[in-house]
């Protein structure tokens, strides 16, 4: 009995020592090994003990109960799938740019706050959310989050959840597109490579549809090979004085390009562009993340970022706001991400072979995403802090050139020389890296550093552009699929008002709904590009707040499921993360709207711009637009907060009714059917 646990005890001690090293270490650099050990040790313990408790005691997973994949098997979406294949599929569906960007931005507080939140947030919050929603959906024939909210809590809640999802989608697409814009502006190499992905996707699409039907792997292999060719070709284009100007574009041009692309992709048949892109980015994503994990474990780079920086007081250049609450909304994906509730109640529950597989896929899949976020954090923290801030601070703060930037950054107490800044840009094949906010470029520099140390030096520029391509590839895939999903949701909502608008096969309705969705995120994107502080400053917190509030909605639904299935005594497993999430996110939302510091509060910023106009230091037309955008951002934040509080109240009412026995505790599960599988 004791011997069985001795290995786990050993792991717990090793993890504790690693946490101690991280927390107590001051000055000098520290090896990433400690960070990886602390994280992985905690994940393993969380998986072994907490997820087992959830699976057996709280949810009562039962392998004698047939899953939807078995009962409703149709060979297409309902298919019993081997657990490791499904794990990979689910992981590829949940992990995207979110866990890569958030931790890089939050590194302005130092590596420690982000690490603590990522690791403990996921074990006690994010993985629990994914697991319970996957469990709930599995017991309900694979129903979506919105349908579960409607059936368990009432139609009004279902509608609110749907509105919340749609608005989050708009903000998400805008901010992700902005990350791509900031990585590609004035970068002919990057622009050329990314442009090439469009004809490559077309080629793959026709290959799979017309020439060699269903031969997805063949087409994907060709796609990946052409993509690598495009990457190498990009260098030639960037170095050619005659070609480079054609592929050098300003942020605004690229933004309009992405908006146009998003619209076309959303109205074209899926097999042409969207489906091949999806394959390409799935395989690239899994491959690159495995490569990154290998690289980090092999190199174990020293982390040069301090454990905690002075910017926890809210004066940081990357984004405004203090450690609490802003670390907890800047890092959403990787710790807890509401968006996963949509994926965990989508294709995955229809493919589970056994109920107990939900533990590995729901809980374990999210731990894996958290580990990706930890790797991103390592990649940001291994840079010299001076370099990190040179890349991630807005150009307006840095004063526009390497000399002024070095001056400003030295003022913050980090040493960096103009030569270092310029030398780094040259080594990755870019004219400048200053003020490339959004996280992707500094992550790419970190990844290039790891890859070139692990797999041979001298290819820094190629690795940098490989990393940029990898990120832009799946962000643009999210833009495609997200616009399409948003369009379907809008059509469904509009169908309540006028029937024909709800018909997704009616072409005018499709075009109209697509245009509206694209206009929605396109507006926020252009606003971000024109923002003097770079846009990430205001849009990323907005995204974080919306994603966390969606997680709160999902945890409300999860709690309702628990209480309705007579497990009220275990409701703390969802109520605990819910309470923390609401405290952090509602505080953040409130501060973003009402804080008196114009760097932080939208309304205070609007007032400050008003004063600048009155004083004549700001042109009136431009000022009026900034004021309108501030008020719009404030209104959107308020809407998110109100919707969440309404969902919370209607759920709490339901909980009380059941707990006081005025309503029977009866969950809407599908009836038990004995499995036909042996063993």
């Amino acid at each position: 009995m004791f011997l069985k646990y001795i290995g786990w005890l050993f792991l717990a001690v090793a993890g504790a020592i690693a946490w101690g090293m991280l927390a107590l270490h001051r000055g000098e650099t520290i090896s990433a090994a400690w960070l990886v050990l602390a994280a992985v040790g905690t994940y393993l313990l969380g998986y072994r003990f907490y997820s087992r408790f959830l699976a057996n005691r709280v949810f009562g997973l039962n392998d004698r109960r047939a899953t939807p994949a078995e009962r409703l098997m149709n060979g297409r979406d309902f298919v019993p799938t081997s657990r490791w294949v499904l794990f990979g599929h689910h992981f590829a569906a949940i992990a995207g740019a979110g866990p890569l960007v958030g931790p890089v931005l939050a590194a302005q507080f130092g590596y420690l706050p982000g690490t603590i939140w990522l690791v403990f947030g996921v074990v006690l919050g994010g993985a629990v959310q994914d697991f319970i929603i996957l469990f709930g959906s599995m017991r309900r024939d694979g129903k979506s989050l919105g349908q579960m909210a409607k059936e368990e809590t009432g139609p009004a809640t279902g509608l609110l959840a749907m509105v919340a999802v749609l608005s989050i989608m708009v903000i998400l697409l805008a901010v992700l597109a902005l990350v791509v814009v900031n990585a590609l502006k004035d970068s002919p190499w990057g622009v050329f490579t990314i442009l090439c992905t469009i004809p490559i996707a077309f080629l793959m699409g026709f290959w799979m549809k017309a020439w060699r039907p269903g031969r997805t792997l063949e087409a994907s292999a060709i796609g990946v090979a052409l993509l690598l060719l495009a990457l190498v070709g990009g260098r030639y284009v960037a170095e050619s004085p005659s070609l480079a100007p054609y592929f050098t574009a300003s942020g605004l041009t690229i933004a309009y390009g992405i908006i146009g692309y998003g619209f076309i992709a959303s109205v074209l048949p899926v097999w042409m562009l969207l489906c091949p892109r999806d394959y390409l980015s799935t395989f690239m994503k899994i491959g690159t993340i495995l490569l990154l994990a290998l690289g980090i474990l092999f190199v174990l780079p020293p982390l040069k970022m301090p454990a905690v920086t002075q910017f926890i007081d809210g004066t940081g250049p990357v984004f405004a706001g203090k450690l609490f609450p802003f670390a907890f909304i800047t890092i959403a994906c990787g710790a807890i991400s509401g968006f996963h509730a949509l994926v965990a109640s989508g294709t995955t529950p229809k493919m589970l072979t056994r109920e107990s597989d939900a533990r590995l896929i729901g809980y374990g899949g999210m731990l894996m995403e958290s580990f990706v976020a930890i790797m991103a954090l390592c990649a940001a923290a291994l840079l010299d802090p001076g370099i990190y801030f040179a890349i991630n601070s807005p150009l307006a703060t840095l004063g526009g050139n390497a000399n002024s930037a070095a001056e400003v950054i030295r003022g913050w107490g980090f040493t960096v020389t103009p030569q270092q800044i310029e030398g780094l840009a040259a080594s990755v094949g870019e004219k400048t890296l200053l003020g490339r906010t959004g996280g992707a470029p500094s992550l790419a520099v970190g990844m290039a550093h790891i890859f070139s140390s692990a797999f041979g030096a001298g290819l820094m520029a190629l690795w940098y552009h490989f990393a940029i391509m990898f990120e832009a590839l799946f962000i643009l895939t999210t833009v495609d699929t997200g616009t399409r999903v948003g369009r379907f949701m809008l059509q469904e909502l509009a169908g309540h008002i006028w029937r024909p608008l709800g018909r997704t096969s009616w072409y005018p309705s499709t075009v109209l709904a697509s245009a509206l969705i694209v206009a929605g995120w396109g507006y926020f994107l252009v606003q971000g590009v024109l923002d003097p502080l770079g846009g990430i400053n205001s849009l990323w917190p907005l995204f974080g707040i919306s994603n966390q509030l969606l997680a709160a909605v999902a945890l409300c639904v999860g709690t309702t499921i628990l209480i309705k299935s007579g497990k009220a005594r275990y409701a703390w497993v969802t109520l605990l993360p819910l309470a923390w999430l609401l405290a952090a996110t509602l505080t953040a939302g409130w501060e973003k709207v009402f804080a008196e510091d114009p760097r932080l509060g939208f309304l205070a910023h609007a007032a400050a711009v008003g004063e600048q106009i009155a004083a004549g230091t700001m042109e009136a037309g431009r000022g009026a637009r900034l004021i309108f955008n501030d008020r719009l951002d404030a209104a959107v934040t308020m809407v998110f907060m109100v919707v969440t509080v309404l969902v919370l109240l209607s759920s709490a009412r339901e909980w009380l009714l059941i707990l006081t026995r005025r309503k029977p505790a009866k969950a809407q599960e599908s009836p038990f059917v004995e499995t036909a599988y042996a063993g």
Binding site: S220, D278, T347
Partner: protein, 62 residues
């Protein structure tokens, strides 16, 4: 058929990573559960899948 059974299973697993269901599994299912229905061609199967897959629910996160 193409290659050995093991190789086919590996390829099918990789395809399913990206969400693509297996044609032979589908055909076996049809023959067993619905022997009265006609079996679609691989091309038809692929087209139906693509249409159903990118429907109204989010399949990807951020």
């Amino acid at each position: 058929m193409r290659g050995s059974a093991t190789w086919r299973r590996i390829l099918s697993g990789i395809r399913r990573l990206a969400g693509m269901p297996d044609y032979t599994v589908y055909v076996e299912h049809l023959q067993r559960a619905h022997p009265d229905r006609s079996i679609p061609s691989e091309r038809q199967f692929y087209e139906d899948f693509v249409r159903a897959r990118y429907g109204d629910a989010p399949t990807r996160c951020c």
